[in-house]
Structure formats: C-alpha cells, structure tokens
C-alpha cells in the first residue's frame, strides 16, 4: 500500500474523493517518505488555492457581490498564505506546519458561509471550496506525523 493510499484511508468519508484527486497527481502517488508527501500535498493545495482565487476573481466580474469579493480577496489570501506558511515550516517546526495546514481550510469554509448568506448558488465555486477544504484536511493528517 502506498503512502497516499494510507493517507486516504485516514480520511474517513472523504476516502473515495481523496483517492480520485490524488491519483491524478503522479508526484504525490510516487512519494517516497512522509516529509515528501507533506511537501507535495501542500504544494498541491497552494496550486489549487491560486487556481480557485483566479476563478473567483473572474466571477467577481460577472457577479457583483460583496460575498464573492470577500472570497476572492481576504479569504483565499488567507488560505494561500497558510499553505505557504505551512510549507516554510515543514523542516523547522512540525507543529506550526500542522496548524497552518489545518487553518488553510478556514478560507473555503467561511467562503461557503458567505455565499450561502448571500443566497448565491455557484456549483463551480462550491466544488473548488470543497476540494481545497479536503486538501487542507489531508495536509493536516499528513503533517500530524511530523516530529
């Protein structure tokens, strides 16, 4: 059993989606040790966060809503910042990296709430939020093994 499959086993209800998402990332599939796995998942989260932010900034142009503006700016800035911070702490402080990996998920969570309060239904944004929250969870589980 590979490292990423073992990680997905810990993801509970998200196991199936975890396998689906990570199988598409050859580097993650081939990770040789846990530190490498952590690094690759955090980089994946950072990449996905930047993609989501770009989509949200485009959405701001077609849907003039303060909730989308909030998602595209402060909330996803926070998520991207957390993934970056976690990456930078991997070698120095496992506990801080673990904390940052977890709070990266606050951005999509709060974004979902803001959109819901504004009664905005956008399946693409919801899917992006869900996947990034999942990656944050996986990064948290992986970094939990760090010394």
């Amino acid at each position: 059993i590979t490292l990423y499959e073992s990680l997905c086993d810990q993801a509970g209800q998200d196991k199936a989606r975890c396998l689906e998402v990570l199988q598409a990332e050859p580097q993650i599939v081939g990770a040789k040790d846990n530190v490498e796995l952590c690094k690759l998942i955090l980089e994946f989260g950072l990449k996905k966060g930047l993609e989501a932010q770009r989509f949200l900034k485009d959405a701001m142009m077609t849907t003039p809503s303060p909730a989308i503006v909030q998602c595209a700016t402060s909330l996803y800035d926070g998520t991207i910042g957390s993934f970056k911070s976690s990456l930078s702490e991997l070698a120095e402080d496992g506990q801080t990296a673990n904390y940052d990996a977890k709070v990266a998920g606050d951005g999509p969570t709060t974004c979902d709430i803001a959109l819901s309060n504004a009664k905005i239904v956008n399946p693409t944004i919801s899917a992006l939020n869900k996947d990034i929250l999942l990656i944050s969870k996986l990064a948290f589980l992986a970094t939990d093994k760090l010394p």
Partner: protein, 299 residues
C-alpha cells in the same frame, strides 16, 4: 497541542502584543524565550501564540462581533452534517468570549452598499490601503491608479474621485500614507510616533520586523499592529505625557477633518518626518537582508 484549553488572560494577551512589538510577527519562539514575557506566557507554546495572534488578526480583519457570533452559531449547526467542516471549525464558546475580550475593530466589508458616512470612511480607508498594497508600485501609487483599481475590483462608487481626494489627504495628514511626487505609499510608522525621535527609532524597528514577517493580508494586520503600537506607547508614558499625547492626537484629528488647508500643512510636516523614517527603514531592511547567519541578535 494535547494540553487542555486555557482561556487567554488579559495579561497574557498584553504580553503577546508587547512581544510582537518587540520581536515581530512570527517570532513566536523568540518571544517565549524573552525573560520579559516568559514569566507570563510560560504555559503557552509557539503554536498557541500564533493561533491567538491569528484570531486577533481575523477579528481586526473584518468580522464585527455580530457577524462573528452569527457565523459561530451557523457553524454549530453544520457540524453534524459535514464531517469535513469539523476539521476547520474553531470551538464556538471560546470564540464568543474572545470577542468580548478583544474588542474587535468595527470594519465593514459591505463595499457596494455603503450606508453612512462613518462606514463609508472606514471602507474607503481599507480600499485605498488594499489598492496600494495590491498595485505594488515602486514609490507608491498615484490617485488615478488607486481610483482605477478600486473601480476595477469593486465597481464604480458614486462620487469616488472626490471622496478619494479628501480621504487621501486625510490619510496623509494622519500619517498612515506618505505622499511623494503625487504618489502615495503606506507609511512605515504612525505619525505621532515620529514626534519623539528616540522612541520612534525603537518602534520603527519593531514595526519593520512586523512588516517583514507578515506574508498574508498585510494591510489588515498592520492596521491592528498599528493600534497596538499606539496603545503600547501610551502605556509606557507618564500620565502627563499621555494627556499631552491624547490632546495632540485629538487636535491633529480635528485639524485634518475640519480644515483642508491646515490638513495640508500637517501633511507636509508628516511627509518630511516620514521621509526620514522611510530612509531609516530602508537602511534597516538592507541591514536585515545582509544577515545570513541563522542566529539573529535583536539589539
């Protein structure tokens, strides 16, 4: 951490803020080792400090106490349904209590519909700071670029140009912005501090470190840090100094708001002081960048 939760006391919170002023954001281990703070923060880990600082920043960043409470309630309802959310959610009760402790800044994020003058001013402050931060132009941004950014990002606001002119003048007069050759950039230190040469050097160092370490929403965190800096400075004053300081602050605010001409004069003085401060900050930055040793000694 496996340790049980302990509510942050006012003393601990104050020590954390003072530690950030002294050592900078992100220097959690350094703060914990400093004898000035270790006596108060001995039960806290570096992650505890980071978490508390983040909570303070989040509330300074735009969630009013009412919005935060509403969010907290909704989060409770969502917990049983989505396992995913449980990973991200902070316990609600401590958050509610922390709201009372922290006295968050009332900053509105309702950009499109700006109800009243006060909220409008607050929002415009944030928009201007965000524009300058995002544009990242060398030497700052001019009024046209700032207006274009705001319109691109947040849709045209009625009377934006005239509001922007007045607001830029006010921010320059109050020391939050520096104006050079019709370009505006975010001031490295509050204007009031510049009036005390010796202390401004010390605060400038602390502020510079804070600026260098922040890698998230810099503008919002700086806003909070700025206020903390002012509060810390006031706390270290004698009663007479504090009274004089407060009187000066009030006088300056009144002048800036009531009389454009007097505000312009204040702006000129603030600009000259800020130029000197900026030169010092630049020197500090170069000095800091030159250090390659992992062991940094903060004098």
């Amino acid at each position: 951490m496996g340790a049980p939760k302990q509510k942050w006391t006012a003393e601990e919170e104050q020590a954390l803020k003072a530690g950030v002023v002294k050592h900078g954001v992100g220097k959690w281990r350094t703060i914990l080792k400093d004898p000035e703070f270790s006596g108060v923060l001995y039960l806290r880990s570096n992650v505890d400090l980071k978490d508390k600082w983040r909570n303070l920043s989040v509330m300074a960043n735009g969630w009013s106490s009412r919005e935060k409470s509403r969010l907290s309630v909704r989060r409770v309802h969502q917990v049983p349904r989505q396992d995913e959310n449980s990973m991200a959610i902070t316990p609600v009760v401590p958050s509610d209590e922390e709201i009372v402790d922290v006295k968050p800044l009332q900053v509105s994020r309702d950009i499109v519909h700006i109800p009243g003058p006060k909220r409008s001013n607050l929002s415009l402050d944030k928009l201007i700071m965000e524009a300058i931060t995002s544009l990242k132009e060398n030497g700052g941004s001019n009024k046209t670029a700032i207006a274009a950014f705001i319109e691109d990002q947040y849709w045209a606001l009625p009377g934006l140009k005239s509001m922007l002119s007045a607001k830029l003048k006010f921010l320059t007069a109050s020391g939050k912005l520096i104006k050079v050759n019709r370009k505006y950039r975010i001031a490295p230190i509050a204007a009031y501090s510049d009036r005390r040469r010796n202390s401004s050097m010390l605060y400038l160092k602390g502020r510079q470190k804070a600026s260098m370490k922040i890698d998230r929403d810099e503008t919002n965190i700086l806003t909070r840090s700025q206020i903390d800096l002012e509060l810390e400075k006031i706390r270290s004053m004698t009663p007479q100094e504090a009274a004089a300081f407060a009187a000066r602050a009030v006088a300056e605010a009144e002048a800036a708001i009531a009389e454009a001409e007097e505000a312009a004069k204040e702006a000129e003085a603030a600009e000259a002081d800020a130029e000197a401060a900026q030169a010092f900050a630049d020197a500090t930055t170069k000095s800091a960048k030159g250090r390659k040793s992992p062991k940094r000694i903060h004098t």
